[in-house]
């Protein structure tokens, strides 16, 4: 096992893959393009995670420290992979910091990019400061500043969360469901209500997809315990009435137009394919699926496979994914890499 396994991406999936391999003594080269490890939960400053309720800085922080303290894991931050040549079991790879490593296999844990709300101008992001994204509200909470209106710092009395911003929208070429935003929004709504009990929180939805066990824990708990209101309406436009942000739309269950002022409007932004996926596809020689995520090999016949033998994939690189499932996929990819390493040795 002298040869290393290359793990690309230091988020939950990559950290989990690296840690799994290290746990049985396999050498790992972990490459991260940003300055620090942790991926989206750390870089974007998430608050409390679903479903554990733990702070992201603590939960993902433990994973980061575990990777940094491992003797088997060599971490390269602020680094990208520039070249991958050779055969499965015997790849050779070049990094942007000049390092060359010989690896038996590659695990792509390259994650996703948050949808940029500027691409939906009718919903007011960028034209009024009190229209923010779920990520920004996460940061307000995790930084300890608390939920507030960016325009003047006041505590909001009414917050609207708009679901499916950058998801399920042909207009902007994003037809997929981002899977986690409903649950994240319900979680966020409860956190807002906990911090500001006098503040009303409304969630405007097309469908609610708090799948599996999240149904009780998030969808119903947010309504029954925290009195969060769910309104079936896709907002047509977000404007400004001089004092507050104005939502316009139709409550489809009562066939009635809505025109309601809010202090804070939150976009539940979706998960885009990693913005660098074209480069990733070229460097690693893997195909992308039609939406732009990394193409996964048929699930029944491979472990964490891509279109290229010896290159494996885990986490949100293959499509919107939860943190827990990304971690599980990281472990599966580690299993695949270990098989390759053992056969090559």
């Amino acid at each position: 096992m002298s040869q290393s396994v290359l793990v690309v991406g230091g988020g939950p999936a990559g950290l989990s893959a690296a840690k799994s391999l290290a746990s049985i003594g396999q050498n790992v080269t972990l490459v991260e393009k940003e300055e620090i490890l942790g991926g989206a939960p750390i870089l974007s400053g998430y608050a409390k995670l679903v479903p554990s309720g733990e702070w992201a800085s603590e939960a993902i922080g433990r994973m980061v420290r575990s990777a940094e303290n491992s003797k088997s894991i060599k971490v390269h931050t602020s680094t990208k992979v520039t070249e991958l040549t050779g055969e499965p079991g015997n790849f050779s790879t070049k990094l942007s910091n000049g390092t060359e490593v010989s690896v038996s296999s590659v695990i792509l844990a390259t994650g996703f990019t948050h949808f940029d709300s500027v691409n939906k101008p009718e919903w007011g992001f960028g034209s009024h400061p009190d229209v923010v994204t779920t990520t920004q509200v996460e940061q307000m909470i995790s930084s300890g500043k608390g939920v507030h209106c960016p325009s003047d710092g006041r505590k909001p009395d009414r917050v609207a969360i708009l679901l499916c911003v950058g998801s399920r929208d042909r207009q902007i070429g994003r037809e997929w469901c981002s899977k986690i935003c409903c649950t994240v929004s319900a979680n966020l709504a409860m956190e807002i209500r906990e911090e500001l009990p006098k503040c009303s929180v409304y969630i405007y939805y097309m469908d609610i997809r708090t799948f599996g066990l999240y149904e009780g824990q998030y969808y119903w708990r947010s309504q029954e315990e925290f009195k969060v209101k769910y309104i079936k309406a896709r907002i047509a436009e977000v404007t400004f009435d001089g004092k507050r942000v104005l939502l316009k739309g139709e409550d489809t269950l009562v066939k009635r137009p809505i025109s309601i002022p809010f202090d804070l409007v939150v976009h539940a932004i979706g998960m885009d394919p990693n913005i660098e996926n074209q480069d990733i596809s070229r460097v690693f020689g893997v195909e992308l699926e039609p939406h732009g995520f990394i193409q996964r090999a048929p699930a029944y016949d491979s472990i964490a496979g891509t279109s290229r033998a010896g290159v494996y994939v885990a986490g949100a690189a293959v499509g919107p994914e939860t943190i827990d499932d990304s971690i599980a996929q990281g472990q599966a990819a580690a299993m695949a890499a270990l098989g390759m390493a053992t056969n090559a040795a």
């Binding site: 009990p197 119903w220 209101k229 079936k232 009635r256 137009p257 309601i260």
Partner: protein, 246 residues
């Protein structure tokens, strides 16, 4: 905006003009009919809490709008405007004005309980319908219904004596609702009753009418029931006035 599908619009929202000139364009005739702009401009945050404070309304928060209640509804089969699913939605979101539009039919529930049997979330819609009716009365949106008068007379008598005296209930009920005591069906019933010469029964009835006997040791029970009722009504009053300590 101009429209031509007038049948789809509630008449009170139609705006017609005999002659109309907009920006020097004569639009009299077919194109001069407009819909009044109307939109939800606010929610009554307290409404769900108010409804759930009435007996039967406690589980309204569970509803997920599947419509099983409306589909199974006996009254809905006759009157499609009778829609428990819709009212539960309005109540939960606080769309009070929209709810009041239907105040003349909400109380028509016949309590067949089919909705309560089919509801997958145990909302108990039949109870919600009761709660809605009582809420309408308590808020003064509708006058007290006959059944409400009857209920009040009934429980007031029980509260006073621990017993009910049917003759008194009927008399007082008719009195409260402004109905004459001499109703043909009642006269017929009394005549039939007397025909059998039930001496013992008439003696007992006369006695209870004159002396209003109480249940033994009733005052203790009366006191605690009154306390409970007072407590509940105070709670409800606070909620209805929006002064609830949260």
């Amino acid at each position: 905006m101009p429209i031509h599908e007038e049948s789809l619009i509630r008449p009170e929202n139609l705006r017609k003009h005999e002659e109309l000139n907009i920006d020097n364009v004569d639009v009299s005739g077919h194109w001069s009919t407009f819909i009044e702009t109307r939109s939800v401009a606010d929610y009554n945050e307290n409404l769900e809490r108010e409804i759930s404070a009435f007996p039967g309304g406690a589980y309204i928060h569970r509803c997920w709008q599947c419509g099983a209640c409306t589909n199974s509804c006996t009254v809905n089969a006759i009157n499609p405007d009778f829609n428990p699913r819709y009212w539960i939605y309005l109540a939960r979101l606080g769309m009070e004005q929209e709810l009041l539009r239907d105040k003349e039919i909400i109380w028509q529930c016949v309590s067949c309980h089919r909705c309560t049997h089919v509801c997958p979330r145990d909302v108990e819609p039949e109870g919600v319908m009761k709660a809605l009716s009582h809420w309408l009365e308590a808020k003064g949106h509708t006058p007290k219904s006959q059944s409400q008068h009857f209920d009040e007379e009934f429980y007031q008598q029980i509260l006073e004596t621990g017993k009910i005296e049917e003759g008194r209930i009927v008399r007082n009920f008719f009195n409260r609702t402004g109905q004459p005591l001499k109703q043909p069906w009642l006269i017929r019933m009394v005549k039939n009753l007397i025909r059998g010469l039930p001496i013992m029964l008439m003696f007992k009835m006369g006695l209870s009418t004159l002396f209003r006997p109480k249940t033994k040791d009733w005052s203790k029970s009366k006191h605690s029931i009154e306390e409970l009722i007072e407590m509940r009504e105070l709670e409800r009053k606070k909620i209805l006035e929006g002064n609830e300590a949260s």
